[in-house]
């Protein structure tokens, strides 16, 4: 059964409180039982405690699947990119290196790439993915576009990302300020910024 078309995933990093509920809940999903497939990334860790959850963005043209030499990564009709097919995956980690969002995880003990599949056992029957169902601040939201527009008056959903010369359109939406709504989000922009640790002094050790 496909994921109902009117239900969409929305990530709102500004609402993330770093509680790791999603990380815990993710490992309880039946499609990847025991393995948490969500990343909780720190933004500017040296300056702030701000975190942001990273789930698979389910790209319209998934780079992970494009680069897979074993033809193991497939997308279902509803646009959900699934974990690698076990009989095909050769554990080469090409997908891990290629994904602009850093989502796929290589389980070297299983010799299998596993990734967020939007809790396919739940979302394909109309339920919320585990992370979205537990998130206390609703930084992860799974529902209709009307709902999110009603709940977040000051935010808008963007699903276009730029990674170098590649524009990636995704099934999952990122919430951005409505006033300054960008055309796309530059995934690699952080790499052009100055190193954050540059001005940390080590004069503590001087006598």
């Amino acid at each position: 059964m496909p994921v109902p078309e009117h239900l969409e995933f929305f990530i709102d990093p500004s609402r993330c409180i770093g509680c790791e509920s999603c990380v815990q809940a993710c490992s309880e999903c039946d499609t990847h039982r025991g393995h948490s497939m969500i990343h909780l990334e720190y933004v500017e860790r040296s300056r702030t405690t701000q975190t942001t959850p990273v789930i698979c963005m389910h790209c319209d043209s998934p780079t992970c699947a494009e680069v897979c030499p074993a033809d193991a990564i497939k997308r279902t009709e509803d646009g959900v990119v699934q974990s690698a097919r076990k009989p095909r995956c050769i554990a080469c980690s090409n997908c891990v290196l290629a994904c602009p969002f850093g989502v796929p995880k290589m389980k070297s003990d299983l010799e299998l790439m596993m990734k967020c599949d939007m809790c396919y056992d739940r979302s394909s029957v109309g339920k919320k993915p585990m992370c979205a169902s537990v998130c206390p601040s609703q930084a992860l939201f799974f529902g209709t576009r009307e709902e999110i527009e009603r709940l977040r008056k000051r935010s808008a959903a963007v699903n276009r990302f730029r990674f170098g010369n590649q524009t990636v359109t995704t099934k999952v939406n990122m919430m951005v300020p409505r006033d300054a709504r960008p055309e796309y989000i530059d995934v690699a922009a952080a790499m052009e910024e100055d190193s954050l640790g540059g001005d940390i002094m080590l004069n503590v050790l001087s006598t």
């Binding site: 319209d60 043209s61 699947a65 494009e66 033809d71 497939k74 997308r75 279902t76 009709e77």
Partner: protein, 182 residues
């Protein structure tokens, strides 16, 4: 299952339609319905070629059988002198061709047994264990009965080919190979 609409599902990186994409992209589709889709033409091709392969195989088996019958029984060959083989011992010999290793077992004063040494599972050489009344194949632990050559344990399903023997004038002669299926 109905054929999925190719243009509708595949969203290619450069945005051009599926038909304009390189062949490899069409051969290795990202979408699951296309990956699992088998075209009627592919299926027919597979069926025709497989049937053809079976038909050719049958003809080939027929020709091989005919050639084997034409060859007839191999010539009688002397294996050993009776006095050279003590009771309870084993010797190896080649019969009918120099590369066909066989085993000759003397179990009693007048009882002689001979089998091809090739295990009927994957052609490893079997080892005679006369005191246990069996042949053992060390590769996958296959066991054959010493007196009949029939498999008693392990993966082999067919008995060892029996070499028919003739003992006269103080010598043991191999007179033929008896291939058996059960």
């Amino acid at each position: 299952m109905t054929r999925p609409d190719l243009n509708q599902i595949v969203r290619t990186p450069d945005g051009r339609p599926e038909v304009e994409q390189p062949k490899w992209r069409r051969d290795f589709p990202i979408d699951l319905p296309q990956d699992e889709y088998v075209a009627r033409r592919d299926f027919t091709k597979f069926m025709v070629l497989t049937s053809l392969a079976f038909a050719v195989g049958q003809v080939w088996i027929g020709i091989e059988n005919w050639r084997r019958r034409r060859r007839g029984q191999p010539p009688i060959a002397e294996i050993a002198k009776v006095s050279d083989v003590p009771i309870g011992s084993t010797i190896t010999f080649a019969y009918p061709q120099p590369h066909d290793a066989c085993l000759l077992v003397r179990t009693g004063e007048l009882t002689w047994l001979a089998y091809a040494q090739e295990c009927t599972h994957l052609a490893c050489a079997v080892i005679p264990e006369v005191d246990k009344g069996q042949f053992r194949c060390p590769c996958h632990h296959g066991y054959f009965d010493l007196t009949t050559g029939r498999p008693i344990a392990g993966p082999p399903r067919r008995p060892l080919p029996r070499i028919t023997l003739d003992v006269r004038n103080g010598a043991v002669y191999a007179t033929g190979v008896e291939e058996r299926t059960a």
